[in-house]
């Protein structure tokens, strides 16, 4: 019973950490972007403020059952994935006490699919609102996903084949034991995954889903108040999840929260930087982009992993 209580506590802590980190990173990005664009920009904590505002607003509009479910769907997916991801290295003190979660009970393929779960809910909710822009946003997002999934899967398969496991812990353990990060043992796969991450984070030039200029934020355009707030929270957790996953898989994982923060932040800046210097792609350009060099790199990485 005590174990269960600790687990629940750990889960809550994990969620809070992930949420906070994701929100903060978002704030930092906004600030940095503003500075680069020669603006003052909001504070780093603007996201928290936004969230507070949204949650305290009265929600007037009810768009039907799917519109109601969509935010829950996202947050559920975010929390579930988070539970199955090793935030820190297994075996470390921090890990054992606070972040054990359920990460022994899932593996990479499960995570891949579980991450889609949230998007699906979002898509359904967006669909029911009847806003054509939302639907367009969803179709773009799905199309783009097919685009970046190929290099990403190539990288992951290379990883799994190279280490003969599909479990994230095992991959981390192998990296720790050998002392060589995946990033260095198979740089091609890493690069492929990195390129895929550009699409995954949906920053410019891959921000075709939201596309503030033409779709008015796309899927989320009809949501407001508690719904939008919940979605934002879920999105932040997902940002943390993605970063943690990359760190776990390619950067050898982290032994402590600071290490995790450094690694994730470094990783996070790559799409952000990339976005600063690139205007938005059209959907087919984005897909073609992912099916170009990233895929080639992924294939090379996979070949290296096999032989």
């Amino acid at each position: 019973m005590e174990g269960l209580a600790i687990k629940i506590l750990g889960a809550v802590i994990t969620t809070i950490v992930a949420f906070a980190v994701g929100m903060t990173y978002g704030g930092i990005t906004r600030k940095l972007t503003a500075r680069v664009q020669n603006r003052v920009g909001p504070t780093i904590f603007q996201n928290f403020i936004d969230l507070l505002k949204l949650q305290s607003k009265k929600t007037n509009i009810y768009h039907g059952v799917m519109g109601h479910f969509a935010p829950m769907w996202i947050i559920t997916a975010a929390i579930t994935v988070l539970m199955f991801i090793p935030v820190l290295h297994p075996g470390t003190a921090w890990y054992n006490s606070w972040f054990p979660n359920l990460s022994f009970h899932g593996d990479l393929i499960f995570l891949l699919y579980m991450m889609v779960f949230g998007s699906l809910g979002m898509a359904l909710g967006a669909g029911q609102t009847g806003n054509p822009n939302s639907a367009i946003g969803v179709t773009r997002g799905l199309s783009q996903m097919v685009g970046f999934e190929i290099p990403f899967v190539l990288a992951l398969v290379a990883l799994m084949v190279q280490y003969q496991t599909t479990s994230i812990q095992d991959i981390m353990t192998v990296q720790r034991e050998s002392g060589v990060w995946m990033m260095f043992s198979n740089p091609f796969s890493f690069l492929a995954a990195l390129f895929a991450s550009l699409g995954m984070f949906r920053y410019s030039p891959f921000d075709i889903v939201g596309a503030p200029a033409e779709l008015a934020s796309g899927p989320v355009s009809e949501f407001g108040g508690k719904y939008l707030g919940t979605m934002m929270s879920g999105g932040s957790i997902f940002a943390f999840i993605k970063l943690t996953l990359y760190v776990d898989l390619f950067l050898g994982g982290a032994y402590s929260i600071p290490e995790l923060l450094i690694k994730t932040f470094a990783l996070y800046m790559i799409p952000v930087f990339y976005g600063w210097v690139n205007p938005r792609y059209r959907t087919e350009q984005a897909i073609r982009y992912f099916w170009g060099w990233p895929t080639a790199l992924g294939v090379i990485g996979l070949l290296i992993a096999i032989f």
Binding site: Y62, Y113, G130, A305
Partner: protein, 620 residues
């Protein structure tokens, strides 16, 4: 009376009675079909396992029918899905013409399928196979639309497959003079079958047609679309699995017994398996791509079925315990979710008059139950946890990765990611989006149609957490195929590398998180929330005008289509069209021999006479 024979007799005589009873009442055939299938089901489930054994000696041939553990798995599928579909059909077919024909063929094809899985000799296998084929053909053309493209193509491809099988059967016969599968397996083990490789390839060709494998799939989308939904569920759900059954029979049951010492045979076996698996993967990818550009929901599902059959084929073709298990699991699952989906589309068709997604949308409020079952099935189809589809997908991926088929994994992954696109397409196209005025009158389907779908949807949910319920019969069936001691757990999946996924934890986590979020969102600020219609939206911050078109249904994935345009360029149907046109021209040219001039015919006679004389006198 033998129980197995009795079951078949019930189905076949039920078919005839149903056909004749149309004269009495329009309603009667559907009822008779339902009753016969129920009777067959009751008979099957109340009899002990060892009575399904039937031998008949007729016309100088010995026919053996036997339901072993492997067949039993398929019998579950056939009887279960047919029962639900026939229950559904009672409501679905109401007030339609020519119900007698429909139910006649439906029962006949169900009987044919049972015969196929029970057959232990190749002749009865072929007989039942053909009965199944033509009865399903008659249902496919039942609506009569586009007979040439749908009916003739289906029949031609089926015939190609069936005749390839017949050729193989004859090759085997010429070697060992028996049709009995057990004796054939014994002969393979003793290397008394020189034509083994050719025969297996031909058999696999035949089964690939039914399993709609890549170059032979062109009949499937049209056929699945044209058949009435109540039957398409069976058609796509179990009838296509007969191809899988046959493949399993050849690859796992027959070829496996080839002497390992014979290197070339083993090599060929692996080679055949690899080719087949790659064909399955390519089928999955291409069919998915075609599925997502469809505008008709049934056609979309039809392509989707082809893609799913591709996955199933991969598993069988790879032939490791996990992959076979994945494949069989997916096969059952496909029957469940694709059955549900086709039934749901049938309900939509019946209530709204069409399944063309450009014509209807926003049915979620009108047909909530149908939406629910569709959603559950789509989530299963997409393989998203925590529903059952994930289990099958997971096992398939793990099987492929652990077996080293890494590039195949990527192709499969690509196709199942692209499957999200059409999954969303079908949900959005029919149930979500703008509510149209001309669908305002639509009502939910009657209970007798909803019930079967809900049953299957609940099964899908249950299997998502407790796949072991299905692993049990699968593992038993695999024993027959030679995979003894397949380990499985009720809620935990594991691969050969020792990695596990605990479905119980997943479901629990999701459930807890979901309930928490639900409570939070539902309870918070409930007051004052206003239920608005789909017109009440802001597009780019503006309130849309009354006449403004807010429906987004055409060219749904146009950007993707543009991006993937090289993959769409070559259409298989075009190739077959060219082929058939070429053959047509050749035929037309050939028949010009018959010039119509009697004198020319006389000249032929004399030329032939002289030629034969010269030939005979100079050579014999």
């Amino acid at each position: 009376m033998n129980t197995l024979a009795l079951i078949l007799l019930i189905l076949f005589s039920g078919a005839i009675v149903a056909f004749l009873s149309e004269k009495v009442s329009k309603f009667l055939p559907s009822l008779i079909a339902f009753i016969s299938i129920t009777a067959a089901g009751i008979l099957f489930y109340t009899s002990p396992a060892d009575v399904f054994n039937f031998k008949l000696s007729m016309a100088g041939l010995n026919f053996t029918l036997k339901i072993d553990e492997f067949s039993r798995l398929f019998v579950h599928m056939i009887i279960g899905l047919s029962w639900l579909a026939s229950m559904y059909a009672v409501g679905y077919m109401q007030n339609k013409e020519r119900q007698g024909t429909f139910f006649f063929n439906m029962l006949l094809s169900i009987g044919g399928m049972l015969g196929i899985v029970a057959a232990r000799d190749l002749v009865s296998f072929f007989v039942f196979w053909e009965i199944m084929t033509w009865s399903s053909f008659l249902i496919v053309v039942w609506t009569g639309a586009d007979f040439r493209r749908t009916g003739i193509w289906y029949m031609v491809f089926s015939a190609m497959g069936a005749y390839a099988m017949l050729m193989a059967i004859m090759m085997i016969y010429s070697d060992i003079h028996t049709f009995n599968i057990d004796e054939i397996i014994a002969a393979i083990a003793e290397q008394r079958l020189p034509h083994l490789v050719e025969a297996s390839v031909l058999l696999l060709f035949g089964f690939s047609v039914k399993a709609a494998l890549m170059p032979l799939h062109v009949w499937a989308p049209n056929a699945y679309t044209q058949a009435p939904a109540a039957y398409t569920a069976i058609f796509s759900g179990v009838l296509s699995k007969m191809g899988i059954f046959g493949m399993a029979l050849v690859l796992l049951s027959m070829l496996k017994f080839a002497n390992p010492a014979d290197f070339s045979l083993v090599y060929i076996n692996g080679f055949i398996g690899q080719i087949l698996a790659w064909l399955g993967a390519i089928t999955a990818a291409i069919a998915t791509l075609y599925a997502l550009i469809q505008t008709d929901a049934k056609k979309l599902l039809a392509y989707s079925s082809v893609a799913q059959l591709g996955y199933i084929t991969i598993g069988i073709a790879i032939g490791t315990p996990l992959s076979v298990m994945a494949s069989l699991f997916l096969a059952v699952l496909h029957a469940l979710f694709k059955g549900t989906l086709f039934l749901a589309m049938g309900a939509v068709e019946r209530q709204a008059g069409t399944t063309d997604m450009t014509k209807i949308s926003g049915l979620i409020r009108r047909m909530p139950w149908t939406f629910f079952v569709t959603l559950v099935s789509i989530i299963s189809l997409a393989g998203v946890p925590p529903l059952a589809g994930f289990v099958g997908k997971w096992m398939l991926y793990e099987a492929l990765i652990t077996n080293g088929n890494v590039f195949m994994v990527v192709v499969v992954f690509f196709s199942s990611t692209a499957a999200f696109l059409y999954s969303y397409r079908i949900l959005f196209g029919i149930f979500l989006g703008q509510e149209e005025d001309d669908t305002a009158h639509v009502k939910e389907a009657p209970l007798s149609m909803i019930l079967p779908m809900v049953v299957m949807a609940l099964l899908l949910i249950a299997l998502g957490t407790y796949p072991g319920l299905l692993f049990d019969p699968i593992a038993q069936g695999m024993t027959v195929l030679g995979f003894e001691n397949v380990t499985w757990q009720m809620t935990v999946l594991s691969n050969v590398w020792g990695n596990t996924v605990n479905l119980m934890y997943i479901s629990t986590t999701i459930g807890v998180a979901f309930v928490a979020a639900l409570l939070f969102l539902t309870l918070k600020g409930r007051k004052g929330s206003r239920n608005v219609g789909t017109k009440d939206i802001s597009t780019s911050g503006e309130i849309p005008l009354e006449h403004e078109n807010l429906t987004y249904q055409l060219d749904f994935f146009k950007p993707f289509e543009r991006a993937a345009s090289p993959l769409y360029r070559r259409k298989m149907t075009k190739i077959y069209d060219d082929l058939s046109n070429g053959l047509d021209a050749l035929f037309d040219f050939t028949r010009k021999i018959y010039t119509g001039n009697g004198q020319t015919y006389a000249l032929y006679v004399v030329i032939f006479l002289v030629a034969l004389l010269i030939y005979v006198q100079n050579t014999l």
